[in-house]
């Protein structure tokens, strides 16, 4: 598969490295040679210095043979123009990163297709959705639903009060009819559990279960539900704005924004939220603004370090849930070990969304689990595909892959080794990043 990525920014570079590890032909184009420096020496890809909207440059890198053209420069209009040129030169599919919510509306999809842009991606919106999801249920790190809520994936940090800790899987303590543990994240390690593994305190445990067993999982994990009513935001960044936009109405939001102009703008845009023109790093001010009463704290400025530190401060004031936007990939495991709660990375979310497009099999969904460096994939089993031929335990599945559950005729169920997958089942698979392609042949 030949893929051209224009814009060697954070999303572009991350995606290029991710895809270059597989059998893909990646060409990365950027105007700035600084950003391309040494990339082609260290990774199996080709870099090219040129303008994303130059017909000549695009021809030079063989856009006419491209299966996928991805425009991820910071500029919406550049991405759109580049995609239109690419489509007309012969690229099969195109994707543009945008900054305009209007474009994402379903009724505009056909319109953009006509223009020559097949997919649109708005990383900030994807990140905001994830924040909103995690604010809705206070005791969860991550919450994803599949097939209209037939199955859910839960990421839970278990403490020493949980009943499931220190018990080996082989003891049979775990009720695999009601939930299934698909992965455990311990320190910087992601473990696909086997019989001899056990759950320890402070692990993040990923469960697959059905909505009716949600309460049961909560009990097992020793968690308590507390309603989130007051949320404090640090900075009125684009992600924060999109989050505010989608926030349920019963949640009160307080936004601390340093910039006066921006504060005014925010106040105008979000009349229901309380906008405070102050620096959230000033402890006196956040105390005064009632950090102690806040149920959740969201730090989504463009500065990863400030976000992490601010969340640490909020934790000290007793805020139960904190969410930090961490752009720097190396900081993610650090943030995790500091115990600052949920970590959001828009780059990785965007990359796994784009990654989905590159898969051949009937993949409905690829969702990124930021903390675990893993993905959850929703496959549809084709008739006569390998996966339908035998019991799961006899399938010889690749390592780092775990089938969590299936949805048959809209009804979700947890799988065990004896389950046989039938054609047209939706299968929820958990896999460590870059193993997706190994599991793909099973579904074709």
């Amino acid at each position: 598969m030949k893929i051209i990525i224009v814009g060697a920014g954070e999303v572009g570079t991350h995606l290029a490295k991710l895809l270059a590890r597989e059998n893909m032909e990646i060409t990365l184009l950027d105007e700035n040679p600084e950003r391309l420096k040494d990339l082609d020496l260290n990774y199996d890809l080709l870099t090219y210095e040129g303008s994303p909207t130059s017909i000549n440059n695009l021809k030079e890198i063989g856009v006419e043979n491209a299966d996928l053209f991805i425009g991820v420069t910071p500029y919406e209009s550049v991405n759109m123009t580049a995609c239109m040129i690419a489509t007309n030169l012969g690229a099969v599919k195109t994707l543009a990163r945008i900054n305009n919510y209007e474009y994402l509306l379903p009724q505009n999809k056909e319109f953009f297709k006509k223009l020559g842009v097949d997919y649109l991606i708005y990383p900030e919106v994807l990140a905001a959705n994830e924040i909103v999801e995690s604010l809705k249920t206070s005791w969860l790190r991550q919450n994803m639903s599949f097939c209209n809520n037939a199955l859910i994936l839960l990421g839970i940090k278990v403490r020493s009060n949980a009943v499931i800790i220190n018990k080996k899987f082989s003891t049979g303590f775990f009720d695999h009819n009601r939930y299934r543990v698909v992965a455990i994240k311990r320190g910087s390690q992601t473990i696909i559990p086997k019989g001899s593994d056990e759950i320890l305190a402070n692990d993040i445990v990923y469960f697959i279960t059905t909505p009716e067993n949600l309460e049961f999982v909560k009990e097992q994990a020793g968690k308590e539900d507390f309603p989130i009513r007051n949320v404090m935001f640090m900075g009125g960044s684009r992600i924060a704005q999109k989050t505010l936009f989608n926030l349920p109405s019963h949640i009160h939001a307080k936004v601390l924004e340093r910039d006066k102009e921006k504060s005014l703008l925010l106040a105008n845009k979000f009349p229901n939220a309380l906008i405070i023109n102050a620096d959230a790093r000033n402890i006196d001010i956040i105390k005064q603004e009632g950090i102690e009463e806040a149920d959740a704290f969201v730090a989504a400025t463009s500065n990863s370090e400030a976000n992490i530190l601010a969340c640490l401060v909020a934790k000290q004031f007793g805020v139960k849930k904190t969410i930090a936007e961490v752009e720097n990939l190396d900081y993610i495991s650090l943030a995790e070990s500091l115990d600052i709660g949920a970590v959001i990375n828009k780059k990785m979310i965007a990359a796994s969304y784009i990654y989905q497009i590159t898969l051949h099999a009937n993949v409905l969904n690829v969702r990124n689990l930021t903390a675990a460096d893993a993905e959850v994939v929703e496959f549809v089993a084709k008739p006569t595909s390998k996966i339908t031929r035998s019991k799961i335990k006899d399938l010889k599945l690749p390592e780092n892959v775990n089938i969590g559950g299936i949805v048959r005729n809209g009804i979700g169920s947890i799988v065990n080794g004896d389950t046989i997958i039938k054609p047209d089942d939706h299968v929820i698979v958990f896999c460590i990043s870059s193993s997706i392609r190994k599991i793909e042949p099973f579904f074709n």
Partner: protein, 489 residues
Amino acid sequence: MNKEINVKLVMRMLGSLLLSEATALLLVFFLSFVFKESDGYYFLITSGVCYLIGLLGILLGRNASQEMGKREGSLVVTLAWVIFSLFGALPFFISKNIPSYTDAFFETISGFTTTGATILNNIEELSHTMLFWRSFTQWMGGLGIIVIFLALLPMFGTSGAQLFAAEASGPTKDKIHPKITETAKRLFLIYFLLTFAETILLRIGGMNWFDAVCHSFTTIATGGFSTKQNSIAYWNSPFIQYIIILFMILAGVNFSLYYFGFKNKFKKIKENEEFRYFLIVLFSFAIIIFISLIDFSQPVSFHKIENSWRDALFTITSLMTTTGFTIVDYMQWAPFAWIILLIVMLTGASAGSTAGGIKMIRIVISFKFCYYEFKRLIHPNAVVPVRYSGHLVQEDVITRVLAFVLLYLIVAIFGILILCVSGVGFIESIGALISCLSCVGPGLGLVGPMGNFAYLPVFSKWFLSFIMLLGRLELFTVLVLFTPAFWKK
């Protein structure tokens, strides 16, 4: 802070590389039946040893993590060349064709690095099988062991990019395809086609099939091993000599230009400055030497003029592309010609070709940089960036190029010193060192076109072997292993 070197991965990669050498040796063993010779047996033994040790390496390196850094890259590439030479020397040694292991190793690494310096006093007494292996080492080394391996066996996965970069560390990007294995395949195809074409033409020119194949191997690899003691002079055929001149020049051109040629991107070839300067320098020096060779005191005939022109062009081409074939004893020429020969040995041909030396592109960039420095003296605030082939050259590239040229000259000067200390004569030291560093073959004086390296002291031979490896892998890949920073945790 550095991580520990991934020793297991290095072992596994070296193991699998050794298996490929074992396969090459096995191939030569089967060929010995074609020649109806009995010494294929030695290749079978060596092959067996290589298989065993290769498998051992893979066994020791099983479950290695896939993490591959720059350091592992340099280590694998350097060790691969050393190991290939260590084992490649065995057939010469155990068959007693070359009784001393030092000599056998020298001959083999001279083959793999495509130098072409020999310690053999009478090449023709070797069997066909031995001669074939000798030429074949050059053919493998010409394109690069790693490149050939990447092209034929897609085993290294994504770490191929690192290895490729460590083996072919030219200043420009030579990737012609996003995937490194695909790039290697295309390069190999070009390499193969050039070799094939030359074989056919040499056969037409009157060589037998065996000599045609062996000489094609060593021409396209710009190696210079011949199957005859008198090198190309043996055939005394202008047609063969012109064919070889043509293919030496073709082998000295950046291989990616051929690819652009296939793709009908002739503009790229036209605007490639390295190609242009390569031809300009080549022909200018050839003409200077040609004029110096004409003896005006005697009546001038076309035959004589053609002869001088051919001698001059052949010698300059052979030394500039760092091939090292000879048709004439250039030690009979005026001493100024020797200097010219030393200069072209140092410059070498194009980056991305099979030639050694500093490479034209680095020379061109260095000269431009120096020239612009004058401009800056006169207009201190002028912005005069270095342009190459119509593109701006980044400052870090210029720094790397200048550092390379400087280091090359430093290595040359100190190498000459060490050779002299080890008991080699003055002119021989200069000739041998520069010849080996640029992977040419013949040097000056006793190691010149009519002599060989056999008489050198043992230490000098090991030292020159090291210099050949240094030159072939373009200094940094090997020298970085000797820096404390490389091993520091």
